[in-house]
Symmetry: C2
Subunit: 216 residues, 2 copies
Amino acid sequence: MYSVAIEDYLKSIWKLGSKDVGTQELASHLDIKPASVTKMILRLTEMGLVDHTPYKGASLTRRGELEALSVVRRHRLLETFLSQTLGLARDELHVEAERLEHALSKELEAAIAEYLGNPTRDPHGHPIPGPNGELYEETDLPLSDSPINMTLTVMQVPDNDSNILSWLENNNIYPGTKLKIISRDDFDGGINVRIGLSKIRISSSIASLVKISFEE
Amino acid sequence: MYSVAIEDYLKSIWKLGSKDVGTQELASHLDIKPASVTKMILRLTEMGLVDHTPYKGASLTRRGELEALSVVRRHRLLETFLSQTLGLARDELHVEAERLEHALSKELEAAIAEYLGNPTRDPHGHPIPGPNGELYEETDLPLSDSPINMTLTVMQVPDNDSNILSWLENNNIYPGTKLKIISRDDFDGGINVRIGLSKIRISSSIASLVKISFEE
DNA sequence: TATAAAGTTTAGCCAAGGCTAAACTCATTG
DNA sequence: CAATGAGTTTAGCCTTGGCTAAACTTTATA
Ligand SMILES: [Mn+2]
Ligand SMILES: [Mn+2]
Ligand SMILES: [Mn+2]
Ligand SMILES: [Mn+2]
């Protein structure tokens, strides 16, 4: 069993992409100083969880990736479980799962997955990796560059910013919501959207965080 | 928020009684060396959580006691929650709660308590302290020195030894079980008990861990 | 009552995981 | 192509929470 710190490092590197991740980028994501990150990256490299090229960046080895996926699986199962049983709001889930994810045994993970019927998406629409790291490939698209005048289904909302999340919730935007882009403001990329009977404007920065799908 | 180590120390001191707790006793309970315990006790004393008389022992201050009760509350609520939702067996609960108890926010604690209807006993029959450390006084008695030939109701079983616990479970002894002591073996304090149609013998060491109540 | 044993504390060590300040590398760019 | 500045690493420090070995107290025993 890896430490809380190590699990969070691996998850962060995983989230920041498959490319080489910079020290500073990782530091700000973990809210830690760059020098501390360098030191930990050296340890993770030593452990065979990370590949590191000095002055260039770090990436996960296969072993590191599997461990990261395991943490992500626990996180997303927990969010789903807390939502389902206790009815926590979508914007309260992330912060709780962030701590609980490190305290979940394999057995409890399995019991929760079974209880939930082995879900493939969490309450934010994020895919839940399988018990052996299986992750189906993404086909959802950012709302920010989706076609106009088509019926779109919201598939994913962000999980880590509870302000954005509660704004979206208040405007009835969450996985399953049907909406249509009416127009796009060229000057700043903001979009005007119809949801049911109401029309709202969504800034491009937020629209890029919402993922959708649609029929051909 | 106190560290995992500190929370476990406080809980252990609390469990080991209201008297002064010895270094060695605490060390073996926490599976740690006595010298490490002494060092931590000094820190806890510094923090105002513990009173310490050198070469005599340590006891909780009121603040330390309240913190210990908070950990115990989280532990027992979690056991109840996992039992209720996932149906975990009584002998699997403790080890899971032992880690999760340190990752539970006040909000999640409250949500779980409410979901469960503010229970006062966990699945082992142990009383659950209230949100402000309220704990009703115990009236349950050890089965080992209970009256003979009366209908007794099992109120509490131990939670930390899964071997004993599954033996008890296999013999249908758990909170709510009705039983009657038929006779007591004077030579070793073992008792012979009728549960429903079957009769079994319970050693005195196990009988002292099972608590019962009965009508006058 | 002197001494041995049991229990406790102190001293000194270590690893994990933070920090700051200083040194280093590398990609610009003047 | 040399100098600057952004980003990264190194050096050295700190706290937490373990450990062992040695010293110290207290208690029990001869
Ligand atoms: Mn986390
Ligand atoms: Mn999520
Ligand atoms: Mn614990
Ligand atoms: Mn219990």
